[in-house]
């Protein structure tokens, strides 16, 4: 469905409205306009399309040539997403030795921004490169996604894990014209992301709120029209990981410190949703990941089968000029989950081992639960005032409010009852077609009852584009962090916690998507 807006008519304006226009014409972010610029082809879905970039804040992809979904003939389509930051963390040496400056420069910066942990906010960008190749027609297509987190000519080669190679590869069969209802089947290696807080992406935290799946298997996505404006949406998936780390594998950098104690893990998930026009979407999610592998935990065969089950619900409210509101909540049960692999991710924590490390605690035996809630609200002031007359080709101010909480119930007394909270606000003022400014505030409480485990960041960005609705951005950012005395950052081999993270971080980021 094409959602391009008319630009030919001009409104008749009241005096008050004219004043508001004058005020907002001095302000007015192409973000929502850019986000609205694109074509939706395919089946409505409750999660993110696996072809969408695995990184925060890209709007919908636009066709390179002819989209296979719109072509009767076989065609090749090509998309990509590049997020390329140069980052530098500043730190003060407490006891400089001869020949050492008191100022330390870190690249990459030493800040609490572990994507797999609750502390992650995404304020400090990290590289992501993705190339999507799609071949097919409106009935069947094949998608191959090549991805990486480093460009080795620039960075050097020291982390094989940063080169993911073919990250996703799947076949899509669209049965809509045979069944007369939108129905699509994906088969292959693909991800599923549920609980996307942004209008078109995983949200400001780049974290699916309900869960994420990483499996080889199938996903069926469809919808049924109920009356004029109501749709019943459904999705089901079943899959497992292709292999488990072999027994005896020594965790090391080249294998991303793989955990050989996990078992072969499978995920079954089902989702049901109700949508009203393009205004409201209510979703209910059920996912369960389990392992029943006698080779788990080193092959001793003595550990009980593990399971992680998620029940969640979320609501997306796309209210035109009133902006986009998302709210979701989920409850995760972990039962002997230490052997459940990263086939499922909860708040980006891969499987049971990372759920234990970041939430349940080492003495939990992988047992416990997690109550998660979160929301995001995005508002374009120009759209609020001008409604559909705002086309994204003039100044705008966009405001985002966002937050996530997680309450832990665990057999480990040190972790039981911990409430983790994070929230923030970001305002972006696109004042010229080629320039904007942005300010973002984040506060993270890793344990709500302990202020020493909290930190705050304030990030100021200068944004440069090639046009109002361009799909590229160069961002120059300065971020300042204020830490509680117990806040630590990951570093080392393997990564362990280290105190005293960087307080100031500069970054220069180039981003483009097509």
């Amino acid at each position: 469905m094409n959602r391009k807006h008319s630009t030919t008519m001009k409104p008749v304006l009241s005096a008050n409205k004219r004043s508001a226009i004058i005020l907002l014409a001095l302000l007015a972010a192409p973000v929502l306009a850019r986000a609205a610029d694109g074509n939706d082809v395919g089946v409505p879905r409750l999660g993110l399309d696996p072809g969408e970039p695995q990184s925060p804040s890209p709007p919908p992809a636009v066709p390179f040539g002819v989209q296979p979904a719109q072509s009767k003939e076989y065609v090749l389509d090509f998309h990509g997403y590049l997020l390329l930051p140069a980052t530098l963390g500043l730190h003060e040496r407490p006891d400089p030795q001869p020949g050492q400056s008191s100022l330390v420069l870190h690249s990459p910066p030493l800040v609490p921004q572990d994507l797999r942990d609750f502390e992650y906010t995404g304020v400090v960008p990290s590289p992501w490169l993705q190339l999507n190749f799609i071949y097919g027609n409106s009935t069947v297509s094949a998608t191959v996604i090549v991805a990486g987190t480093s460009a080795i000519d620039a960075a050097g080669y020291y982390d094989p894990v940063a080169q993911m190679g073919v990250n996703d590869a799947y076949l899509t069969v669209n049965l809509t014209k045979w069944l007369s209802i939108p129905l699509q089947v994906n088969v292959g290696a693909l991800t599923g992301r549920y609980g996307a807080m942004g209008g078109y992406d995983a949200g400001r935290y780049g974290t699916p709120l309900i869960a994420r799946t990483n499996t080889i298997g199938e996903t069926i996505t469809g919808s049924v029209r109920l009356g004029a404006d109501f749709f019943l949406m459904f999705e089901q998936g079943l899959g497992g990981q292709m292999g488990r780390p072999p027994i005896g594998l020594v965790p090391a950098g080249w294998n991303d410190f793989a955990n050989a104690n996990v078992g072969a893990t499978f995920v079954n998930h089902a989702h049901l949703g109700l949508a009203y026009s393009q205004l409201l979407r209510l979703g209910f999610h059920y996912l369960t990941a389990w392992t029943q592998d006698d080779l788990a935990d080193g092959g001793g065969g003595q550990v009980p089968d593990g399971r992680i089950t998620v029940l969640g619900a979320d609501v997306n409210f796309t209210a035109g000029r009133a902006g986009h509101l998302y709210f979701g909540a989920a409850h995760t049960w972990a039962t002997n989950a230490s052997t459940v692999s990263g086939a499922i991710e909860i708040l980006n924590a891969r499987g049971g081992p990372e759920l234990v490390a970041h939430y349940l605690g080492p003495n939990s035996n992988g047992n416990g639960s997690l109550s998660i809630f979160g929301g995001q609200y995005d508002l374009s002031l120009a759209r609020l005032v001008f409604g559909k007359w705002y086309t994204g080709l003039s100044p705008d101010v966009t405001i985002s409010l966002f937050g996530v909480g997680a309450s832990v119930s665990s057999q480990d007394p040190a972790y039981d009852g911990v409430l983790k909270l994070k929230g923030g606000v970001e305002a972006t003022y696109s004042l010229l077609s080629w320039m904007g400014v942005s300010e973002r505030f984040d506060h993270v409480r890793l344990n709500n009852s302990d202020s020493k485990q909290a930190f705050t960041s304030l990030a100021t960005r200068l944004l440069f584009h090639t046009g109002w609705r361009s799909r590229n951005e160069i961002a120059l950012q300065y971020a300042y962090f204020v830490y509680g005395s117990s806040v630590q950052a990951l570093t080392g081999y393997p990564p362990v916690l280290e105190v005293n993270p960087d307080r100031q971080v500069f970054s220069l980021t180039g981003t483009i998507w097509w």
Partner: protein
């Protein structure tokens, strides 16, 4: 092949996909490459062979401001400067190559109809690894616990599209965060820097070809803590570490200066013989490139290496006999001081190549190489380096 020194072909097999997407104003560039590392073909022993993203960046080209043209690159970048060969490269590569995440700004300004000024600057950040990172073959034994950034600036002028003069400056700074380990020179950690100053002059004119001359100084100050933001120096020598090992010596403490001067002449014999008529390349031709480079360690804390000289020389010829067939001949020599004697390697490399047309970019090439080593470059008598070499390969650019 077990060898050292310059070889007459690229020492690997594989392919590279260079993708670009954009408009005249903004373009995304991505290079994705692999070397043949399938276990079926050579055994899976080197994850560094890829596949991997090489470079990726945005190129912004705003509309010219009168006669000023600007370009901005942002992303994961490599930049090369000051090669005396044609197109700024050459037999022994650029004298200054840089890499990292960051930006480069390039500008050109038409001063007059016959004079064009060019300038560039850039800031690049080179990511590091923690001090306790486990080094190994797969990560090229990366220096641990250091963070680096590089700033570089360049100024040049081109006269009548024939004479080019350029100045290049780059400064690679290293912050050493190590608490327990020593540098590769067995010295305590120390913040360091490596500054590069290169001048470049070039003349090119039909039918005589082009002559390039580049020279300058690499200045090292406690540079054992400086990474490879200066990606290549002399003859593709990578980063401060390898330059120190080659030219400053193990007792240098990473301190010293290396002066270098190199020249290259490229010409086509048929172009000269056909003049004043234009030679289009669609007839037999003899193409010749000849290059030489001198190095001198003008300062170092290692007394053994002080005032020591070295040289490189190279000859590359191709006799295009027919549209389908050529004879090639390449010869290289390298000679420099080391603390175990003179390190020298010479090679003579005749070959034949097949191509689909006079101007095609495809080649199937067969090369025989005879190599000559000094004792310092081939010190292990139990496992001597190969003296004879045969290479058969094909390549195509598109």
């Amino acid at each position: 092949m077990l060898s050292t020194g310059k070889i007459p072909f690229w020492g690997g097999a594989g392919g590279s996909l260079n993708l670009q997407y954009g408009t005249p104003v903004v373009t995304a560039y991505v290079s994705y490459y692999y070397r043949v590392n399938s276990e079926v073909l050579q055994g899976y022993a080197n994850t560094g062979a890829g596949p991997a993203f090489g470079t990726a960046y945005l190129l912004l080209t705003p509309a010219p401001i009168r006669t000023l043209r600007l370009q901005f690159r942002v992303g994961a970048i490599t930049e090369v400067y000051a090669g005396p060969g044609q197109w700024g490269w050459g037999i022994f590569g650029p004298m200054l190559a840089l890499r990292g995440y960051g930006e480069t700004t390039n500008g050109e300004w038409d001063l007059t109809r016959d004079a064009r000024v060019s300038f560039a600057q850039g800031l690049l950040v080179v990511p590091g690894v923690p001090e306790d990172f486990a080094r190994g073959n797969y990560n090229s034994y990366i220096e641990t616990g250091v963070s680096n950034y590089v700033h570089h600036a360049h100024l040049g002028i081109v006269l009548k599209n024939q004479y080019t003069f350029k100045l290049h400056y780059a400064s690679d700074h290293g912050t050493d965060d190590r608490k327990y380990l020593l540098t590769f020179l067995r010295m305590p950690p120390h913040d360091g820097r490596m500054d590069t100053y290169i001048g470049e002059a070039r003349w090119q004119g039909y039918p005589w070809g082009q002559v390039g001359l580049s020279g300058g100084v690499y200045d090292f100050v406690h540079a054992a803590s400086v990474s490879d933001g200066v990606w290549w120096g002399v003859d593709f020598t990578q980063g401060a570490k390898d330059l120190i090992n080659k030219f400053l010596g193990p007792q240098s403490g990473g301190n010293g200066k290396v002066a270098v001067i190199g020249a290259e002449y490229n010409f086509s014999l048929s172009s000269i013989l056909w003049a004043p008529r234009t030679f289009t390349g669609q007839a037999p031709d003899l193409r010749i490139a000849i290059a030489a480079m001198l190095t001198r360690t003008v300062a170092t804390d290692d007394p053994n290496y002080k005032n020591m000289n070295g040289y490189y020389c190279g000859l590359e010829t191709e006799y295009r006999m027919t549209s389908l067939f050529s004879l090639t001949f390449q010869a290289y020599g390298e000679d420099r001081y080391t603390n175990i004697g003179t390190w020298s390697v010479y090679s003579l490399n005749p070959g034949i190549s097949f191509h689909s047309d006079w101007l095609s970019t495809d080649r199937i090439q067969l090369i025989y190489g005879r190599r000559f080593y000094s004792l310092a470059s081939d010190p292990n008598t139990a496992q001597p380096l190969d003296r004879n070499m045969i290479a058969l390969g094909g390549y195509m650019t598109f």
